[in-house]
Amino acid sequence: MREKSTTLYIGPQHPGITGNMMVKLQVEGDTVVKAETHVGYLHRGFEKLMERRNWLQSFTIVCRICVPEPDPNEENYARAVEEIEGREVPERAKYIRVMTLELARIASYLLWYGGQAGSAGLYTMPQWSVGDRNYILDLFEDLTGGRIYHMYIWPGGVRRDLPKGFKDKALKTMDYLEKRIDEYDKLLFENSIFQKRAKGVGIIDKNKAIEWGVVGAPLRGCGIKSDVRIDDPYEVYDKLDFEVPAMEGGDVWTRALIRRFEIRQSINIVRQTLEKMPGGEFYNKIPNPMKWKIPAGDAYVKTESARGEFAYYVVSDGTNKPRRVHVKGPAYVHGVTLLENLLVGENISDVSFIMNSLGTCPPEIER
């Protein structure tokens, strides 16, 4: 008997991702035959807003492009402005930046733990990981004055130096998290249900992955070593000791394993930066922000975020406002062309599971 095709709308609000996005599915039985991504539920227009704000005012909104991990945005924006202007950043600031980025990566992965497990119906995991993420947010609060939006990495360096006692507190938190991640393994990775759900689902073709524009953990999950921190090192990543994992498979399970490995590595990098951090200045002060002009020019900068390569293309026309700030998050490709293709042939119940494994983040598509 021929199955009838039905149209199904997932979203715009659903638990698979942060932010609003709708996926319109054509399903036959339980199987997806066509998927189409619809965005347009956020209406923010940051890129447009930045054209009318001066270089410093723009800094405060870039972090809002991503809730779970705002820091790569700040980092990209700051680094692009510095590159066009030719502004030097003190060594200490570079270490603080790397530490901040890695803390953000840990926080983001913890949120991913929750989302990935939650979308498989395992609800203890989100309670744990989101609770533990709070410890990172506490560190951010001490460091930057904000828990979610840090507005900390800005052109010229960072906004404030490490507060008193921060190093000890951060190291303690890292020790705690490392222990917790062992417990996560028992709860999630050794869990039969998760293994059953994740293995062989949402497979990305290794041969096509690069061409399709896949980046970050999904690409490394196809067995391709690719990481901006190594390929196009920024700040002080070339002075730190870490490894890029790569595993063959291309499915949700491999991507999860990659992230499991990387969260430990990030903890390790945070420790390294805290140990190696030199003294000195943390900020190369900018001139009066209202009259701060950047010479004409453009820069394309990239940062490895928890979801993959996060890039900014920034153009200055020599005035005190940016001509163009183009934000490209990994979800711009992962959430649209890749997701649309990946969902075909999958089970409906795996849709948000796959979406989450790609790190889909609608605010990156609709900036």
């Binding site: 347009g40 690069i210 061409e211 196009d232 820069a299 990239k302 163009r324 649209v336």
Partner: protein, 192 residues
């Protein structure tokens, strides 16, 4: 410094030999930029992908240079082997010209092109895809064009909250207290 930019310079040489570049430079390590006529876009992209192995399509952006009446479109490619980002720039008239569709080379370019079409009103020849991507029932000019002024649109479309009418301008306040008269030509230099 020069010897560390060897591979970048080499890439530039190869492209210079093969194409008539309007300009080309090594921006820094791992960043090479070339400017080219827009008819050459498909040949250079195919050449970079097939022959030079720039197989990863990183980014595509558009900048409105309204003063020149041009859009600048930037294609950014990445070579996983060379580890270089190649920026290919071209300019196209804001009105009456289009660019070729390239989503048969990289299918994710489709998303970028749809967005640029919607946000700048720049058509791509042969682009298939829903007209509406991010916007919904939009009948103003494409919003990322420089002549779309956000503040004006906002003040026409929305109302200000009540209770803030008593706000004063510091300059006006000081002017009001003295007999200073600010000439019109100087006003553009006042704080905005």
């Amino acid at each position: 410094m020069t010897d560390t930019l060897n591979k970048e310079n080499k890439l530039l040489e190869v492209l210079k030999e093969e194409f008539k570049l309007l300009s080309g430079k090594v921006k820094r390590s791992r960043r090479v930029e070339v400017v080219i006529e827009n008819e050459q876009i498909i040949p250079i992209l195919l050449f970079a992908k097939e022959r030079l192995n720039y197989i990863h399509f990183s980014h595509m952006s558009c900048v409105d240079w309204i003063e020149e009446g041009k859009f600048e479109v930037i294609y950014i490619l990445w070579s996983p082997e060379e580890k270089i980002n190649l920026l290919i720039k071209t300019k196209v008239a804001r009105e009456g010209e289009d660019l070729p569709n390239i989503d048969f080379i990289w299918r994710q370019a489709n998303t970028y092109e749809r967005e640029i079409r919607e946000m700048y009103g720049l058509p791509f020849d042969g682009l298939v895809g829903r007209e509406e991507f991010i916007l919904e029932d939009w009948d103003e000019i494409p919003p990322m064009r420089r002549d779309f002024i956000t503040n004006e649109y906002v003040s026409e479309t929305y109302f200000e909250r009540e209770g803030r009418e008593d706000a004063k301008d510091v300059r006006e306040q000081i002017l009001g207290r003295t007999d200073e008269k600010l000439p019109d030509f100087a006003k553009k230099y006042s704080r905005d």
